[in-house]
């Protein structure tokens, strides 16, 4: 504990405060612009405080802004994203948990190879799978639907969720599984009654990671979903690119914040578990 503010400390704190401001500035600009009137935006400068606060831009962005030819706001697309993200996150996390359980606790001949192959999945760029995936979705008859998008996100997310759960489960002594087997518990009993109850932290990591990835995804959304089923990221892009003469910066900003709110919310609610879960297996094992 420093008792005095030495010159070094002052420089350090000043630098930290500056960095904090620098990072917060875009958020401030977005928030303030979204509550300004268009006149205010045109008249003042970017970082000036709003002269009067109005939420007109927010309600327009939510329910009546035009994204292309439709003018129903972000509302419908927001729910599209919810309908896409929630099942994708849950399904990929659950399957990842089972995968991780198998490759860490029930090794079989070739399970290491399988795990390595899954790991490779983490490094495959989105762009590489676009064409094969489009064909697959076409064959399955779910191209341009939310279900199709869910399938894509589940498959793509599996590599990560499996890795997370596997790395968590390898830190748990396999004597625990042996003890349960001797007690007479089977594959699923061990999974549901012994391992899942202690997997809270890694569950949070997976949910946050997957939710952020899936909610923020633009490429899959723009390629594999069309019109009615587009996610909010694509809608935001369309909204910003659609102008009827005047560029409505306040509506753009409000729409962008609406698109970002759910991930912010998830971080605020579960962020501390994120760090805890990521470092849970880091010390041992």
């Amino acid at each position: 504990m420093a008792k005095h503010l030495t010159p070094g400390r002052i420089v350090l704190y000043a630098a930290l405060v500056l960095m904090a401001i620098y990072y917060l500035l875009p958020l401030y600009v977005m928030l303030s612009t979204s509550v300004k009137t268009l006149d205010d935006i045109r008249g003042g400068n970017l970082i000036a405080l709003p002269q009067s606060i109005t939420f007109d831009a927010w309600s327009k962005a939510w329910s009546s802004a035009c994204t292309g030819v439709e003018c129903g706001g972000m509302k419908g697309f927001f729910w599209n994203s919810v309908k896409m993200a929630v099942p994708s996150v849950l399904i990929s996390t659950l399957i990842g948990a089972v995968n991780g359980y198998v490759v860490s606790m029930w090794r079989f001949r070739g399970s290491d190879v399988l795990f390595t192959l899954l790991l490779v999945g983490c490094f495959i760029p989105f762009q590489v799978v676009l064409l094969p995936m489009a064909r697959l979705l076409g064959e399955l008859g779910i191209a341009n639907t939310t279900s199709g998008l869910i399938l894509v996100h589940v498959i793509y997310g599996l590599a990560f969720t499996t890795l997370f759960f596997r790395n968590f489960f390898v830190t748990i002594p396999d004597e625990l599984v042996k003890a349960a087997r001797i007690d007479g518990a089977g594959f699923w009993t061990i999974f549901f009654r012994i391992l899942l109850p202690i997997s809270g932290p890694i569950f949070m990591v997976c949910v946050i990671w997957q939710f952020t990835q899936i909610w923020n995804d633009f490429l899959f959304g723009v390629v594999f979903a069309a019109g009615e089923s587009q996610p909010i990221t694509v809608a935001l892009n369309n909204l910003v690119n659609t102008s009827t003469g005047v560029k409505e910066y306040n509506v753009d900003m409000a729409a962008a914040i609406i698109a970002a709110l759910p991930t912010l919310f998830v971080y605020m609610v579960a962020g501390r578990y994120f760090v805890r879960g990521l470092t849970a297996g880091a010390v041992k094992g």
Binding site: R109, P173, E175, L176, K178, A179, A180, R181, I182, D183, G184, A185, T189, R193, I194, P197, I198
Partner: protein, 369 residues
């Protein structure tokens, strides 16, 4: 309760490593079997195979008179206590004990009664509603034992259950395990690397090394009549002295020639004359335990060979003082009475009780006599 017999059991891994090379062990109902050996000797693998957690490559394991090779762990009627205790972290102590009973669909009233009985037996009734993380090491150990006891299996398997405890607690729990065995007359297989645990707990000890049972017998038999150099050196603390020595004849009796820097004596070995005959004039390894080289007051018989030796180091342990001397250029440990031990640098008369001394072949390391 059941007898256990292991017949010519082998374990070979997929990469060709032989972990167990033909194990034969049989114990009767109610016996306490110890598998002891250095790490990597295959003792834990053997235990896992008895439990059914590991496959058997060839051979048979019978519990009672039932061949269990192809039975899954839950159908073998066994319970196991692990080194890490392996308590279910999310469950209370009560749940930990009752989990196996619930899975076996025991009626709830019976489960409650069993948990109560086990908790009382191990004096942990007050801990029943705690989580494992709220327990000390000794308490966790107790819960792990309780979980095994609740199942009343035909065989208990212990995998180094005391290794994670501190020295004092380990001795306490050791006694408790022994008491439990005496009370319940249960069949137990217990894996340890600690030869003191092996000696104190076992009815039968199997000393293992490199996937082979080196010797199988009662603790005293293994201590007094080790089959080879490895068993002799592994069992006993401080370890047996191994002195390279020549077999010589003196006054018609065969013996071994022991020298220090002041001179030589010949220790006659009357109990081993016949077996020594082929070795006359050749070099053997003379094995003698520290308590068999002692001061004149502690030696309990008259007429034993005596030698004055130069003391290098002494280690007082309290009840005894260990005196280290150099014989045939080998460091030799002798156990003497604390008041009789002389200081380092001095000379002391040591009495050799050769009646239990053993001889080993220096090349094969097998017992000669």
């Amino acid at each position: 309760m059941a007898a256990l017999s292991i017949n010519n059991v082998c374990k070979t891994y997929a990469n060709g490593t032989d972990v167990l090379k033909g194990i034969d062990i049989a114990i009767e109902d109610g016996q306490f079997l110890i598998l002891v050996g250095p790490s990597g000797c295959g003792k834990s693998t053997l235990l896992n195979m008895i439990a059914g957690l590991d496959d058997i490559s060839s051979g048979d394991i019978e519990i009672g008179s039932k061949r269990v090779n192809d039975l899954s762990p839950k159908d073998r009627d066994i319970a196991m206590v692990f080194q890490s205790y392996a308590l279910y972290p999310s469950m209370s102590v009560r749940k930990n004990i009752s989990f196996g009973l619930e899975i076996r669909k025991m009626p709830q009233a019976e489960i409650d009664a069993t948990v109560e009985r086990v908790a009382q037996m191990l004096q942990m009734t007050h801990l029943l509603d705690r989580k494992p993380s709220q327990l000390s090491g000794g308490q966790r150990q107790r819960v792990a034992m309780g979980r095994a006891l609740a199942r009343s299996p035909s065989i208990f398997l212990f995998d180094e259950p005391l290794s994670n405890l501190d020295a004092k607690l380990r001795v306490e729990m050791r006694t408790e395990i022994k008491l439990m065995h005496q009370r319940l007359k249960s069949t137990i297989v217990y894996v340890t690397h600690d030869q003191i645990e092996a000696m104190t707990l076992g009815d039968r000890i199997a000393v293992m090394k490199d996937g082979i049972v080196q010797q199988f017998g009662s603790p005293q038999d293994i201590y007094d009549n080790p089959a080879n150099l490895f068993v002799a050196s592994f069992i006993g603390s401080p370890s047996m002295n191994f002195i390279p020595a020549q077999v010589v004849e003196s006054a018609g009796v065969l013996g071994v020639k022991i020298c220090d820097d002041q001179g030589c004596v010949i220790l006659p070995l009357p109990h081993a004359q016949e077996k020594m005959q082929p070795w006359l004039g050749r070099e053997v390894i003379f094995g003698i335990r520290p308590e068999q080289i002692t001061d004149a007051r502690t030696a309990y018989r008259e007429g034993l060979p005596v030698m004055a030796c130069h003391i290098d180091v002494i280690e007082p342990t309290g009840p005894d003082t260990l005196v280290f001397v150099s014989l045939n250029n080998t460091k030799v440990c002798c156990r003497t009475h604390p008041t009789e031990a002389k200081l380092p640098g001095h000379s002391m008369e040591l009495v050799f009780d050769v009646s239990k001394a053993v001889l080993f072949d220096p090349t094969t390391e097998q017992r000669i006599a």
